[in-house]
Symmetry: C2
Subunit: 183 residues, 2 copies
DNA sequence: TTGCAATAGTCGCGATTGCAACAGTTACAG
DNA sequence: CTGTAACTGTTGCAATCGCGACTATTGCAA
């Protein structure tokens, strides 16, 4: 069956996601799925289903921010972290986001140039540079936060508000599991 | 709603919870979370939680395959698709995986050189090239599939086998929702 | 038929990435 | 104190990426 393989698939898809392709009509297939004993049931493979749901639930966002603000995903991530946790230094963003520090460094540079955040030397530890949102940065982030709220509400409407806690509970169980022990 | 943005956030947060950071002693944080009215509650933000669970459920896999087989994520995705749906042509893999066609093309080249799949001209449509696994490719894929099965079983143990259908149902609802109408 | 649009796959090229080296700064053992 | 190790943030560079141009082939309208 298809456990591993699916984890694979999901992961890959996560990173390379490009939403609209799903919508495009597909031509006739020349291939059929192989009903091979060595292959597993993809439909019930949880990592795969989780991936699909995740992908679906976060669709549309990239195109909104890239089109409207001409900014990359990485830059958004940095901006959000500065907004939520600022003043914050780059290293902390690296830890929170698991982005490479060079990536963070470059994103910060662009955001500073753009005027969405400031980068001041830390008085206590001069290796660090304290990052903070500018007024403009705050405005944009506020707009995005509002969007996020509305989006979440839409999802809750879809699954039924009485089942939200149920879903969150299951998801938290999965998040808490210790995979290292299984392999 | 908050589609895009949330994908963003999820990504960020994923790292925050990364296990090893807990072990390594961290220096004092200079930043605290900002309890700002414009910020929303991340803990109950479904795209974020979904992302976290997805990430968690598919953890460990990349390092296993990259270390053992010295192959990239993209190459695995292509290999899996050929195994499940082969004979298949590149264009179909592009549609299924949402990888760029040049990426698929390059991955296929490497896999052919490596001897894990064959690329024969399609008799009906000579633009297409039919991809199929070699014996060696099948063996490797079988091993990965077995891993996937075991992995899925472990997740099911975690959440309880009686709640699997419940979770799948909720996930499918999310997958089926029409986000375009909400924005 | 014929001609043009559409498709499959490859490739060139600038942009982006991740790794690692580096400079500046701080922590700490002895 | 002192010297070494560790840490922060930047940058160089090779590898990879994605966009689009391109060739070869097929589909289809007139």
């Amino acid at each position: 069956m298809l456990t591993r393989w699916q984890a694979e698939l999901q992961e890959e898809l996560r990173q390379e996601r490009h939403p609209l392709d799903f919508l495009a009509g597909k031509p006739e297939r020349i291939s059929q799925i192989n009903e091979d004993a060595t292959m597993f049931n993809l439909e019930e493979f949880l990592p795969y289903r989780l991936y699909q749901a995740t992908e679906r639930s976060s669709q549309k966002f990239p195109e909104i921010y890239t089109a409207k603000y001409d900014i990359t995903r990485v830059e958004w991530r940095v901006l959000f972290n500065v907004g939520l946790y600022g003043p914050i230094n780059s290293q902390e963003i690296v830890e929170r986001t698991v982005l490479d520090k060079s990536k963070v460094s470059r994103a910060v540079q662009k955001l500073v140039v753009r005027g969405w955040l400031t980068r001041d030397g830390d008085k206590v530890d001069r290796r660090r540079k304290a990052l903070q949102l500018t007024v403009e940065g705050e405005e944009i982030l506020a707009e995005l936060s509002a969007r996020a709220e509305r989006h979440n509400a839409a999802i809750i409407r879809e699954i039924g508000s009485d089942r939200v806690e149920e879903l969150l509970g299951l998801l938290r169980k999965i998040e808490a599991m210790d995979l290292l022990a299984e392999e």
